[in-house]
């Protein structure tokens, strides 16, 4: 099943083992590659009301599926110690949190601020776009690969992105292909 979800819907989801039916952790940070347009992994919190950060992380390869109610892993061994995980997941660049980033066109116009990341989930995690709080007010969506560059402060996007700001997620799905075609991407 193809399912669009935002990163904030994924954050806080329990991580559940398929074979054990146990909730072994929950999602803390969502880490993605803006270049590859895919989920790279997640960091974890321990389960429990006041439990804090977990040492272990979950690289995307170890995720069995991401659904609306849980992130599924095969068993507890799917959780990786930092030394066994890719560096991007084990030591995420916390200063590169894109939430609240200004979305600027290369021409220098601000389209708004990043409110969320939109992913196509299921057995893999593909990033399809960003949800933004539009400069003029209201919510909008811009398709990926939109950004020319990303920092923890701003997202620089091609000028034509402005034409592809969508009002809803349904529109985003349709816009992604056309947008890619206009950018000359496969």
């Amino acid at each position: 099943m193809r399912l669009l979800m935002t990163a904030s819907q994924i954050r806080g989801l329990p991580v559940v083992t398929v074979q054990g039916g146990e909730d072994v952790a929950e999602v803390r940070d969502v880490i993605y590659s803006p270049e590859a347009g895919r989920l790279v992994g997640v960091t974890l919190n321990k389960r429990g009301f006041l439990a804090g950060r977990s040492r272990e992380v979950l690289p995307a390869e170890a995720i069995h599926a991401v659904g609306q109610h849980a992130v599924m892993v095969l068993d507890e061994s799917s959780l990786a110690a930092p030394e066994d995980a890719p560096d991007d997941v084990a030591h995420p660049a916390m200063e590169r949190n894109v939430l609240g980033d200004d979305v600027l066109t290369e021409g220098g116009a601000s389209l708004g601020k990043v409110a969320d990341l939109v992913l196509l989930v299921g057995s893999s995690g593909e990033v399809v776009g960003y949800q933004i709080d539009k400069a003029g007010g209201g919510r909008g969506y811009i398709p990926l690969p939109a950004q020319l560059s990303v920092s923890g402060v701003a997202l620089v996007v091609p000028n034509i992105t402005e034409e592809f700001v969508q009002d809803d997620l349904v529109g985003l799905g349709a816009a992604v292909d056309e947008f890619r075609a206009r950018l000359g991407l496969p």
């Binding site: 074979q19 039916g21 609306q68 599924m72």
Partner: protein, 151 residues
């Protein structure tokens, strides 16, 4: 004969060798991979004891017969302790697909009273073959993706 978790809860447990009443069924511990009842939990709390399925001479409609009361033992590992505390009880547990979507609540589970093999899982008005069960624990019973509602 088909039996159900709901119906068998509270059924008295008797010793075949001494004809003494040993207690009542509180929980059934399931081996999800084998789709089989592994053990019967008798009593609750700190006094809860287990008897393995192989040690039963019959799982009858009026009583569960244990070969000998010596077969009763305290929980031996974490999973058995969790079962004794009722944390692994299948009935009432959320059913989750292996895709991470909730399918509902497990209302009841049926099994073959002769073999202890699980038959069907009842989720709302759906009856799912136990072959779909991939795992079960304190958080959820996990079913294979064929149980996902079609989009």
């Amino acid at each position: 004969m088909s039996e159900s978790f709901q119906r068998s809860a509270g059924r008295k447990v008797m010793s075949r060798s001494s004809a003494k009443e040993l207690g009542a069924v509180s929980h059934l511990l399931v081996d999800a991979q084998q789709r089989q009842i592994a053990a019967v939990v008798i009593g609750r709390g700190k006094k809860a004891q287990l008897v393995e399925w192989a040690q039963l001479s019959g799982f009858g409609p009026d009583a569960v017969m244990v070969v000998d009361e010596g077969a009763l033992r305290p929980p031996a590992d974490d999973r058995e302790r969790a079962a004794a505390e009722g944390r692994l009880e299948l009935v009432g547990k959320r059913a989750l697909s292996e895709r991470g979507n909730e399918l509902g609540k497990l209302d009841d589970v049926t099994f073959d009273a002769d073999t202890g093999a699980l038959e069907d899982l009842l989720i709302g008005d759906r009856r799912v073959h136990a072959g779909s069960l991939l795992g079960s624990g304190s958080y959820a019973a996990v079913l294979d993706e064929s149980q996902e509602p079609s989009p």
